[in-house]
Amino acid sequence: MTTPSSNSAPSGFMEGNLLKNKWIYRFFRSRWYPGIIQWPTLAIFAVIMFDLMLGPTVTHDNFGSAMTWVLWWPVIPIIFLFMGRFWCAICPFATVNDIVQDFVGNHRPVPKFLKKYGVWIIDALFILITWGDHVWGIVDNPVGSGVLLLLLTTGVVASGAFFERRMFCRHLCFLGGLAGNYAQAGMVSLHGTPDICAQCNTASCYKGTEAAPGCPIFEFPKTMQSSANCVLCGDCIKNCPNGSIQLTVRPPTTELWFVHKPKVEAAFLAAVIMGIVFVQNVTMLEVWGSILSWLEGVTGTTSYYVNFTITFAVAIALPVSLLAWASVYAAKYNKASFVDNFTRFGYAIIAFDLAAHIAHNLFHLLAEGKSILYTGVAMFGVDSHDASPALAGMPVIQTLQFGLLGLGFLASLYSVYRIAESNHEGEVVWATFKPYALMMVSFGILNVVLFTLPMSMRM
């Protein structure tokens, strides 16, 4: 049995190799991992799907709705922060992909256009699903939520049936795109030990061995420099003949400061997510009705589809435009291209995205958390309609929300500084920092205003 590397492992606080702990190492190398978590998750997913499609048609009473939108969706960004893309290792869709692949998999290579444009497709899907939620009421309607999950299931069935590994997870999953961004701000990193990997020619981590299949997400730990596409499935740890793999804990957002190969589509998604947080809140404003009436006058139609779409487009265009403006302004001083600035500094928004996302959903988790229990026991005929679903009072929730927003703002601001510092020198650092700092302040003000307004419950 190989042992985890002690070479090159940083020994500073929070940076030691967790795999040096024999229990953690054994757990990751165990053939029970990740199956021991993956299979119960799939079983719970089956119950959720069943309840969404055939259970109570009222969201308030639906256990599937509660599990999906009050528990899973609020908790998932917290998982990304503390455990990277661990969720993707146990995701029921990935399990379905693997099952179908085991039986009928054709193992065809991933189409080239997906490799090239996959993240853009993910961006488009993310926007489409968020838009669809507002105009069709996906969250509000258990069957709507069920249909969304069924569509994703069909996607992974097709992916597992025809293509190699987890093609859908890597190139098409909208949550995977979000997870990739958030995981880069997360606290966990998996990578090979350069000195050991340099001597290795087996590529077992990528190809797989009898111990485990190769990396399901098409990553090669030897050269992997980002956590964006590592799902912590442990396959490379099982496969590595040299014990080269390291699992380290790092301060949040560290990776954002030194992104080796920044992608414009990831930066665009970061800005889009900020816009989506805006639109989720804007539709709850007192003046939202007036805005709609005004839009109806301008567009000449009362179609909610048309008028909401315009609002949605504006909300998304706002952070993208602010990022673009800051990039143009910074380019005057740092002489980098607009695209280069847009891409590099777009990553800094991820920290604020993550904080705002958690803060928004914290309300649903803490103000409606008990609905998971109530809808769960209701499946067995126990009625608890009059009971409060709140796990915490509003002062507590708002304190946590504004605390998170503050941390997210500071983390993004600091990331801007670190990105500027790692790419420029002298006065150019501050000249580059200023427009992006102004952008972050604008995001901060908008978020604070929007978070002080009342929110609707999901259940």
Partner: protein, 223 residues
């Protein structure tokens, strides 16, 4: 590996058992409404002919006297209001003014059955997350000692129906909880069937093409 497979099948079996266990409860849990109440020596029954859905629903009210004989010539009015309307949001106490206008709609009687109105409200998604529940009031018509009418529920959820009957000058009032479901819930089965069919086809196609093709080694792109 054999142990892992056994565990997988055990978990699948457990999930299926759980689904079967839960099925009867969930099927009975929605679309319910009506019942029977004894009041002032009369037995008042409210019956919906089908599971109650958002939109129009046919109902029957039957009033039996102490001898169990149907009562004729009564004036019967059925009204309904959302049981949980204006449920305050724990997070919105400080700033509910904006929502107050929406809640105020709940007092606008006479808007029953205004589906267009309900849809327009439903469009204001962010504020209400679904159509606004509007109280309704319907006078039942008598046919052979049975009082019937059509009542329109503007939204899904928990409602409270109230029968208001005047029998020989005596007022009888009874409340009946009603669970209103989505009118389109029947489509869920069709969607599921379509989903199963589509996925079965994909799997069949993959097994067909797998037999015809030689499995290539996974493409190795190391950098």
């Amino acid at each position: 590996m054999a142990q892992t497979k056994i565990v997988r099948w055990l978990i699948c079996g457990l999930a299926i058992s759980l689904l079967i266990l839960v099925l009867p409860g969930t099927v009975l849990a929605h679309g319910e409404g009506g019942g029977t109440v004894i009041i002032g020596g009369y037995q008042v029954s409210l019956v919906f002919t089908e599971p109650v859905k958002a939109g129009q629903n046919l109902f029957h009210v039957q009033i039996l006297d102490g001898m169990g004989m149907p009562v004729r010539g009564a004036q019967v009015i059925v009204s309904a209001k959302p049981a949980e309307s204006a449920q305050p949001h724990p997070g919105s106490m400080a700033g509910m003014e904006g929502m107050a206008g929406m809640e105020g709609m709940a007092g606008m009687e006479g808007m029953a059955g205004m589906e267009g109105g309900a849809q327009a409200m439903g469009g204001m998604h962010g504020m209400s997350h679904g159509p606004v529940a509007v109280p309704v009031r319907v006078t039942a018509n008598e046919t052979d000692a049975e009082y019937s009418g059509v009542i329109a529920f503007s939204a899904t959820g928990h409602w409270m129906a109230n029968t208001h009957a005047i029998v020989n000058g005596q007022m009888l009032m009874a409340d009946f909880p009603v669970e209103v479901e989505y009118a389109s819930s029947g489509y869920a089965f069709a969607i599921l069937v379509a989903f199963i069919g589509l996925n079965a086809f994909i799997i069949w196609l993959a097994s067909f093409t797998k037999r015809k093709s030689v499995l290539p080694e996974p493409t190795v792109e190391l950098l």
